[in-house]
């Protein structure tokens, strides 16, 4: 069976390599992709959308539908992870607590528990009990900088590489850093599950809502020119601000979904203990 699999993989790989011979050479100005619509985007993007970075204007304006459904795919991935893995029943495992001042570990059996807000004891995981002051301190210092960088990537997506997807992933990663360096409950206290679910839906809603607003103002769906009717911008500026709006939607959705997928996988859906 393994041999057949290997054979199939090699065969399809060879076919794909054979097919690449028909590709135009890399960077060929005569290729269909470079002669058809690209010149329009490259020449007109500044004039039409007021966005220097052509990638951003294509992604969020000229090809806005694609990006909207990409965001929906991310949202659907988060939801399916939630549906498949999340369990709400608490497993009756023993809980472990560390006495903060002495470092002694307690094991509490069954249903009983020490309140989470206790000043004397802190809950520790059963499987993985890291206690490293250096990692905790460094990650605590690092998290605000990661988050500011994520916001910069979002806000500067018009001028430089970046945008909602990358910024959202980086912002979500800051919560994952928190969850790895401290524990899952610390991250969940700062980013609650209900808020997380609401935000992941809100991101898609912002994107589709801006599209629908354009529709209500008389334009086409996701045609940001229509926003110029109610805001004091000219049409090119309206498109730039429309792009910023949908990028914020993508940012929120991606950030919330990344955190929720991580938390659900790492805790086997119990949102209790984990990596």
């Amino acid at each position: 069976m393994k041999r057949i699999g290997l054979l199939i993989v090699c065969l399809s790989g060879a076919l794909l390599l054979y097919a690449t011979q028909d590709f135009p050479r890399w960077g060929n100005p005569e290729s269909p992709a470079s002669t058809h619509v690209s010149p329009h985007y490259i020449l007109k993007t500044m004039e039409e959308t007021d966005v220097p970075n052509a990638v951003t204007s294509i992604l969020a304006d000229y090809r806005g539908y694609d990006t909207m459904f990409e965001t929906t795919v991310i949202f659907a991935a988060g939801m399916s992870c939630f549906i498949l893995l999340r369990v709400f029943k608490r497993k009756d495992e023993d809980r472990y607590y560390r006495h903060i001042s002495t470092g002694i570990t307690l094991r509490v059996k069954g249903e009983k528990a020490i309140p989470d807000r206790s000043n004397e004891f802190e809950r520790i995981d059963t499987m993985w009990t890291p206690y490293d002051l250096i990692i905790k301190t460094v990650s605590r210092f690092l998290v605000p900088f990661i988050q500011i960088f994520a916001l910069y990537v979002l806000a500067h997506g018009h001028e430089s590489p970046g945008g909602g997807f990358q910024g959202g992933v980086i912002f979500g990663a800051s919560f994952i850093v928190l969850a790895i360096a401290f524990d899952l409950r610390t991250a969940l206290r700062r980013f609650k599950e209900t808020i997380n679910g609401l935000l992941s839906a809100l991101g898609v809603f912002i994107y589709a809502g801006i599209g629908a607003l354009c529709l209500l103002l008389g334009g086409n769906f996701l045609d940001y020119k229509g926003l110029a009717v109610i805001f004091p911008f000219d049409q090119a500026e309206a498109r730039a601000y429309g792009i910023l709006g949908v990028e914020i939607g993508v940012f929120i959705a991606v950030m919330a979904v990344m955190v929720s997928i991580y938390v659900t996988i790492a805790s086997e859906g119990r949102h209790d203990e984990g990596l």
């Binding site: 590489p161 980086i170 990663a173 994952i176």
Partner: protein
């Protein structure tokens, strides 16, 4: 685009890919996938598509590696086959 650098990175991509499917240790496999993504990110950057490289670095090399590690943490570390 420097051809020698390009060929060097492409070789590393193939080495990482073959190692990732043949290694028995799933944690090592996750790390190799991260290395593979990072090499792909370098390739995109060399070809001048910086936006794609940025996405690959943050999603492929960053978050998806963490997801793999979390999944390995919750299942077994060694493959059965």
């Amino acid at each position: 685009m420097i051809p020698q650098l390009d060929i060097f990175i492409l070789t590393l991509v193939i080495v990482c890919a073959i190692a990732a499917v043949s290694v028995k240790d799933l944690l090592g496999c996750a790390i190799l996938f991260g290395a593979y993504s990072f090499m792909m990110c370098l390739l995109w950057a060399i070809m001048g598509s910086v936006d794609v490289a940025f996405t690959e670095a943050s999603v492929g090399a960053g978050v998806s590696t963490v997801f793999f590690v979390a999944a390995v943490f919750r299942t077994t570390r060694r493959t059965k086959d």
